[in-house]
Symmetry: C2
Subunit: 440 residues, 2 copies
């Protein structure tokens, strides 16, 4: 098979066979196909599109490029959750222990902050001592022992995806539904989970700006999952405003602990609801609840009876973190040296609180990475005092900006924040959190 | 400007500015843009297309990437001809001296054999001693002195085109009308000619298989020429069967000498006619004839009165070749050690004599390059005794295969030849040589 023939075939809109896709993925991973041929091929895939079958072949080939974890030694149906990324989306941090506390093992492999969106790994690492670089054997051992483990992607999981994604990132071939869904699903399939719940974000702060494309992405991933015999559900959820009241690494850990302590009155409704609904589906597909509503009730109990918090502590202990963070979060977690209040320039109702602007504001404060090499300021971020629909007086505090390392960026971070804020005379209609639920 | 933004812009079908195209061409030529980004960009250009204006900007940027010859010191209107490539298409060899003999200087920069198609440079080099690697100063000096010079493309002419073409060749982005026309025209504009006559081939042996796409390519080139203020005409001509009776390097030089000696009765009608028509247009646009028909008559005279042959001799002399080739071609030119007759398996009319199959047959005999590094067997090739429409007896000789270095390939070369031959009971309708003539 000639690479140029393969490129020409997709360029002309033909449908590729499993063998042809395998040839590309395996050849590129082994450096037999050079970057310049791979990028031409990927651009042809981007513009001509891939059928669901081709996308599934691509996923399978990327799965087989590396190690596929065998979790059969861990009893029960394993369940994981994937979010397409957002601002303030620290849901996994509490969700995983809550689900595990209800008896469904959670093997979770997460990513880092990217652009204006946060990353679960960075948030966990703001807990002093917490390690996310466990080996495969440690991962499986911990899963067996306590039913939960949260780590980072290792080199051996879907190396083809890693290599292809890095090339797509610099050749403007990221935003393809087929390529995105194959990338996400290859990692999740290789990680060995039985159940996967997707949280596909839509809105200004999400990768998918509108509901239609979010739904298309969800469907593409569900289709791959169906072919790979994974049980799945996908929620299409709002990411026009940030989720919860905290944006930042240590800040989101603090919020997690509040949730696990049952202090839901201190939290925003969206954050609590999404945790319960996602958890309900994980329990339902994981075989520990008959319906997702029954699962939702169980998650609520686990939040209120302290069993979720106990599981969270077990995990922190097992992964080398300081467990006392749960009792004295503000003493143990990095605290910002500088705080600055953002005051409302207008009186009225908060109408727009754009997730992307706020995510970029947090990034400027040091909560994310401006380049791949940047160190993260774990203490940095934003505490929201208002969300869409809340009333606000002129001069009233809308949020606090926190930073230790980026004091000089406070002014531009505030400007970025305010660029995402609109206050109106008329009360806006309530934000719909969950737009749709799709099933395999 | 970010390369990724530029790629994304074309990927999404937007129209690029001159500045953006210049940024790409200059960045890629200076190795500031890596191959993998360039190939993704070129695939996006291929699939989204370029407007005539973008194509013209691309051409201009490639022209400016290197040296632009200034031929203003050469008196008169300079005229060149470009063929998109075919089998047996040695037209330039006689055409250039005939036009120069009629008073229009011909600055010709030609290419080498590519795949099943021949190259003017290789044909010229089959004349012992003939040099095609003249410097820019030598080129201009010779043009001034004798009004004709035929050389190869130097590194300093449109280096961006050279680099981009090499990348397109290995990333399946060759067959784009915009990219092809920009590539051809950048070289011709940089070479400094005032008039350019295009011979756009169509048919099974041509790059453009059908008349419609040949016409589209011609129009794209004429459009670029119009914007660069070149006087141009384009002929759409047949390349279903090979041109003339000879395919091969020394063989086509022999045919050239016959034509320049006025021995047109020994030649095929297509070869003579195309020379006259192309020459007629060159004289007309070059200001030495009022109409192309008047020009055509002048070319005919130059063939018959020996002035074309004299000019050819002058050029051979000036470029170090053995002038006696014109008097004793078979003594001076490399002669094949082995000859094999191809006999017709059927009786009837030659109906198909596929140019591509015959070109590949000649390639197998050593007349072309199977890899970039292959040495050419100048003596190798095919002498056609029949053309489409001729009657043939069963067992009658249709052609002779000639080779010195590839005797072991004779059998498969013959099979390749016969795969391109069809003999029918019914007389086929006459081949139309010139389908269309377009003007700037």
């Amino acid at each position: 098979m000639l690479v140029t023939d393969l490129i020409a075939k997709k360029r002309d809109g033909a449908i590729l066979s499993q063998e042809e896709i395998e040839f590309f993925v395996s050849g590129y991973t082994k450096n037999e196909i050079p970057d310049y041929q791979a990028s031409a091929f990927l651009m042809a895939c981007f513009l001509r599109g891939l059928t669901p079958k081709e996308t599934s072949f691509l996923t399978g080939a990327m799965v087989r490029s590396g190690e596929v974890l065998n979790l059969s030694s861990v009893p029960g149906i394993k369940a994981d959750k994937h979010s397409t990324g957002g601002v303030g989306d620290g849901i996994s941090l509490a969700l995983a222990p809550l689900v595990a506390a209800c008896g469904v093992p959670v093997p979770m492999i997460s990513g880092r902050a990217l652009g204006h969106t946060g990353g679960t790994l960075d948030k966990l690492e703001s807990i002093p001592g917490f390690r996310t670089d466990l080996s495969k054997d440690q991962f499986i051992k911990q899963l067996k022992e306590i039913g939960i483990c949260m780590i980072g992607q290792t080199l051996s999981i879907a190396p083809a995806d890693k290599k292809i994604y890095a090339l797509r990132d610099v050749t403007s071939t990221v935003e393809s539904i087929s390529l995105i869904s194959a990338s996400i699903m290859s990692k999740k399939i290789a990680e060995g989970t039985d159940v996967l719940i997707l949280d596909v974000k839509t809105g200004s702060g999400a990768f998918m700006k509108d509901k239609k494309s979010a739904k298309a992405l969800a469907k593409a991933m569900l289709d791959i999952g169906r072919r790979a015999r994974k049980k799945m559900a996908a929620l299409i959820t709002d990411m026009n405003q940030p989720l919860g009241k905290m944006i930042g690494n240590a800040l989101e850990i603090e919020q997690t602990i509040e949730l696990l302590k049952g202090e839901e009155n201190r939290l925003t409704r969206d954050f609590v609801e999404l945790t319960d609904v996602l958890g309900g589906w994980m329990l339902c597909l994981g075989g520990k609840a008959k319906t997702s509503n029954e699962g939702r009730a169980k998650i609520r109990s686990a939040r209120q009876d302290g069993s979720g918090l106990a599981k969270f502590k077990e995990m922190i202990q097992a992964q080398g973190g300081d467990v006392s963070v749960c009792d004295h979060p503000q003493k143990i977690l990095p605290q910002a040296r500088v705080k600055k209040a953002v005051l409302s320039p207008w009186k009225g109702y908060v109408n727009v609180l754009e997730a992307k602007s706020l995510g970029l504001s947090a990034l400027l404060l040091g909560a994310g990475r401006q380049t791949k090499e940047s160190a993260i300021d774990f203490s940095a971020g934003i505490i929201l005092h208002k969300k869409i629909g809340d009333t606000v007086e002129r001069g009233e505090m809308i949020a606090e900006l926190l930073t230790t390392t980026h004091e000089s960026s406070l002014k531009i971070a505030e400007e970025k924040f305010l660029s995402g804020l609109k206050v109106s005379k008329v009360k806006p209609k309530p934000v719909r959190l969950i737009h749709d639920i799709l099933r395999t």
